[in-house]
């Protein structure tokens, strides 16, 4: 009795598909030009946008329970911990003379 089953209209799925295909073309077209240090930022921004569309619509997280959403977000959060702590190591190694390097 908890949830009614949400059935996404075909139109929504097709719209998401068109957006994903358009983003793919845009990301390739943008990568053809040089924006300096912004290259990676733009590419990752588009990729995050595409991934969000897939998670929210195709994977149906918008209809999932709060508990499932917490699990999804926790996965991304732990990934960020991995990157943040990992890079705080690698980027700061040159700051001090480490023996053997």
């Amino acid at each position: 009795m908890s949830t009614t089953h949400h059935i996404t209209p075909v139109r929504t799925y097709v719209a998401v598909f068109v957006a994903l295909a358009a983003f793919t073309v845009v990301t390739a077209a943008v990568a053809y030009r040089d924006f300096g240090f912004l290259n990676t930022t733009i590419a990752l921004g588009i990729a995050v946008g595409k991934a969000t569309l897939v998670v929210w619509y195709f994977m149906g997280v918008r209809y999932n329970t709060p508990l499932t959403r917490v699990v999804v977000v926790s996965g991304l959060f732990w990934l960020l911990i991995l990157f943040a702590l990992g890079m705080s190591d690698y980027l700061t190694r040159p700051w001090m003379g480490v023996p053997g390097r």
Partner: protein, 241 residues
């Protein structure tokens, strides 16, 4: 279905009267696919989705380690990364991105077909998903073959004219896309199993958990590629002209 606390159980019904757990099925009869440890089909579906997401979180961390290696080595050897990226075929990589997006659409439509009880829709969309997934793998095969021909595979045969750091780029290229391709193979096999179940008419509006949960896996593998494409293929695209 969810008319909870249905009280009129037919004589000989499996669930004892007063046992709420199994009284939620249509007409007071428990759904044949309802496992006895769940109260309702809804709860069973929610638990399946939650469980699949917990598995996918472990997959995020699995691929996360590879992305961590990518970031660390790219910051150390940015030039080798940009130059190595130029050896990858943006058009094949881009085409494969579109193929995977198509497969994600047909996957979503397969789940929807199960929700609305269309056996034909499930079969058609699952077959299309398998076809798109296989297309991706075939294109990947030709890409790999080209890398072998051009001596871009790390190891003793690696082109000695290229800087050694580019071997690192190609090592990560092969590991990341290889592990992704392995996930695709698993996904295609999974879809074949789901297709057989759909063929037998196993799924419908009351019971479509396996289709939905397999779809989550399929979409996840698509998302990994959404990140691999710009990070590997597009990185040096602006340098090539």
């Amino acid at each position: 279905m969810a008319d909870a606390h249905g009280t009129t159980l037919p004589a000989g019904g499996r669930a004892a009267a007063g046992h709420d757990a199994h009284a939620a099925g249509g007409g007071g009869q428990p759904h044949p696919r309802l496992q006895h440890h769940f109260y309702s089909m809804d709860q069973q579906l929610e638990a399946s989705i939650l469980g699949m997401w917990i598995f996918l979180v472990t997959e995020i961390m699995f691929f996360g380690g590879l992305f961590m290696a990518y970031i660390a080595y790219r910051t150390m050897y940015p030039d080798a990364w940009a130059a190595g990226s130029q050896h990858l075929n943006v058009w094949l990589g881009g085409a494969n991105t579109l193929v995977l997006i198509c497969s994600s659409l047909t996957m979503a439509l397969a789940v929807r077909s199960a929700q609305v009880g269309s056996r034909r829709g499930q079969i058609v969309n699952l077959i299309l998903t398998i076809v798109f997934g296989t297309t991706f793998l075939v294109v990947k095969y030709f890409e790999y073959a080209e890398k072998f021909e051009h001596h871009l595979v790390p190891g003793p045969t690696f082109d000695p004219a290229l800087p050694a750091a580019q071997q690192l780029f190609f090592a990560l290229y092969f590991i990341m896309t290889g592990v992704h391709a392995a996930h695709m193979v698993v996904g295609v096999a999974l879809m074949a199993v789901i297709l057989v179940m759909a063929w037998k008419g196993r799924f419908g509006p009351d019971y479509y958990g396996p289709v939905e949960v397999s779809g989550l896996y399929w979409h996840f593998v698509d998302i990994v590629w959404i990140f691999l494409f710009p990070l590997l293929y597009l990185l040096g695209f602006h340098l090539g002209h």
